[in-house]
């Protein structure tokens, strides 16, 4: 069943398209990774879906439906009501996602009672259960703690507890492990894998490895557009877009020979700059005249595989 469907989703700030007409489809329970670098528009995509774009942003789309709601037709109050119940968000920095002057418990109880009509005692019970579910030791003691009294890893667990507590159909996680240490990142990934079974997940990350661990399908964004979309194993084994290829060869991996890394030359095109052709062309080893003249459309090249490139790698 389709949970989320976006057609030609565009987010503009000061007439600059940060997200430039992307299509997204997500089935219930599916996990989609949106991978890109800073300025690729991945975070703005997430904020547009959850309804948290900055005031200067304008969102347009041919269609944008989430769990049967035509999101763009909703008034702000109805829109907010979707948050927490139908979908919820996990931020990179839990300190910005958690109100610093409220205790963990009161945040949980408020979140629960906003969407469920139950008494305070029952809500407290559910809140404690939610903390225990995300592996927080001694939930009763932590219930009255404030966000700043917890470590980064614990705060991220609390964020996840809050995101899960109303059993939303969709969770949007924006770089949920980027600010964490390696061993804590491993814990949180493990937790997300274990606890987010029922909900659909959109994971925003710069790290293909993290996306590969949690997601079945990955969309790679570059300069506001999706340049490649594929099942994770296919994408990693046989990337079709030269940018995806570049991302995979640019990162060091354990290899005793230590071959010289193969970086992508140049730097990402700033969002405020437009090119008549493919935005990746200036950095692309395979670019030809047509790439500089014409923007390639995202097209299906094999079952479940889409790529926006005039000269994609063969994937068969």
């Amino acid at each position: 069943m389709t949970l989320l469907s976006a057609r030609n989703l565009t987010v503009e700030i000061n007439a600059v398209p940060i997200v430039d007409g992307i299509d997204l489809d997500l089935a219930s329970g599916e996990a989609l990774g949106i991978v890109g670098e800073s300025g690729s528009g991945k975070t703005m995509t997430a904020l547009a879906l959850i309804g948290l774009t900055p005031p200067a942003a304008t969102i347009r789309a041919d269609t944008l439906t989430i769990a049967g709601n035509d999101v763009l037709a909703l008034d702000p109050r109805q829109r907010r009501a979707l948050g927490g119940s139908v979908m919820s968000m996990v931020f990179q920095d839990p300190m910005t996602g958690l109100n610093p002057v409220r205790s963990i418990g009161s945040l949980l109880i408020e979140a629960i009672r906003r969407h469920q009509t139950i008494d305070a005692a029952r809500a407290r019970q559910l809140g404690l259960q939610a903390l225990a579910d995300v592996g927080i030791p001694d939930p009763v003691a932590r219930f009255s703690a404030y966000p700043h009294e917890l470590s980064g890893g614990m705060r991220q667990r609390v964020m996840i507890a809050l995101a899960l507590v109303n059993r939303p159909a969709l969770i949007i996680a924006d770089e949920p492990t980027t600010a964490l240490d390696a061993t804590i990142q491993a814990q949180i990934l493990e937790l997300m894998r274990a606890r987010m079974r029922d909900a659909a997940l959109i994971l925003i990350t710069h790290d293909l490895g993290v996306a590969a661990e949690l997601c079945g399908r990955i969309a790679v964004m570059y300069h506001g557009r999706i340049v490649e979309e594929a099942p994770v194993a296919d994408l990693l084994a046989r990337p079709a877009h030269p940018y995806t290829c570049g991302l995979l060869t640019a990162v060091p991996r354990f290899d005793p020979a230590r071959p010289r890394l193969m970086p992508i030359p140049g730097a990402p095109l700033p969002a405020s700059e437009r090119l008549p052709g493919c935005a990746f062309a200036p950095r692309c080893p395979r670019a030809r005249d047509i790439c500089r003249a014409q923007v390639p459309a995202l097209a299906e090249i094999a079952s479940g595989r889409k790529v926006a490139c005039h000269f994609p790698e063969a994937v068969a």
Partner: protein
């Protein structure tokens, strides 16, 4: 790892439009300064000599746009010729407060230990006295006049500048590029001059506008209390003091100088707000 790139998770060049406060405040302050210079070099004659035939004329009388006082002197001209006094004193006092406050504040931030403790103690001591009470006491002892008043006001206000400068300097000193300079072997004085002061400048500018407004009010208050310029000098405070006796008879005598003070103070505060907003926009607008 996170990257420090401002509040929003993306980079955008915002057009650096001058905020309206900056425009409005700048225009008001520029007009005041121009008028002050004009009246300093060409003082209006009817500010000190009036015609007793034209006493207590209401504003709008031909030739007396803002009315006249009990001696038939033009209030508009008097307000104009009070400007050099008020602006002059406020400028000198602000200059002293900024120079002293910034120097001590930055030194306190840069050298910890005893220097910081000494500066802190001096700041707290001076701040414990209300500026007006301090000024009244000092002027009562050493006498009135342009320089005594200006210096006294400056000396009673520097701790505010010192506190702001110290807080800002502490923030700047914690930046990576200052640490980098230290590790490159750059000496303390060079660090202060090349990294700290330039970064402090926008903060100092904003602060100068607010302190200047404060000084204008304090100067008027001193004049009102009879501790300002000689009574024959038409400063705004003196005009206010004069108006007391004729409040019911000629309320405009009070409204004209009071209005001048309000316009000047509002203009300076707008300028300060505008400068602050522009600095803010630069900080967040630039990656």
């Amino acid at each position: 790892m996170t990257t420090a790139r401002g509040v929003l998770p993306f980079r955008l060049r915002l057009p650096l439009r001058a905020p309206w406060q900056l425009m409005a405040g700048g225009i008001i302050v520029a007009i005041l300064v121009a008028l002050a210079l004009f009246s300093f070099f060409a003082p209006p004659a009817d500010a000190t000599r009036g015609s007793l035939l034209l006493r207590f004329r209401a504003p709008g009388t031909p030739g007396l746009l803002l009315g006249s006082d009990q001696l038939g002197r033009s209030l508009g001209s008097r307000a104009l010729s009070g400007l050099p006094w008020s602006i002059g004193i406020a400028s000198v006092a602000t200059g002293i407060a900024l120079l002293l406050g910034t120097t001590l504040g930055v030194l306190g931030a840069f050298y910890g230990g005893r220097v910081r403790a000494a500066v802190g103690l001096a700041v707290d001591t001076v701040i414990a006295f209300p500026a007006l009470v301090l000024a009244v006491t000092v002027i009562a002892v050493i006498g009135r006049g342009f320089w005594p008043i200006a210096i006294t006001l400056g000396l009673s206000t520097w701790p505010i500048a010192a506190r702001v400068a110290r807080a800002a300097a502490l923030g700047i000193l914690a930046r990576d590029y200052v640490t980098a300079a230290k590790l490159l072997g750059v000496g303390p004085i060079a660090i202060l001059l090349t990294h700290v002061l330039p970064a402090l400048l926008p903060v100092l500018l904003v602060m100068a506008a607010f302190i200047f407004a404060d000084m204008l009010i304090l100067e008027s208050a001193l004049s009102f209390l009879g501790l300002g310029p000689p009574l024959s000098t038409p400063s705004w405070g003196n005009m206010l003091a004069d108006s007391r006796q004729f409040l019911t008879q000629a309320p405009w005598m009070m409204l004209v100088p009071a209005g001048c003070i309000v316009v000047a103070v509002v203009g300076l505060n707008l300028l300060g707000d505008g400068l602050a907003a522009r600095t803010q926009a630069r900080m967040t607008g630039m990656p």
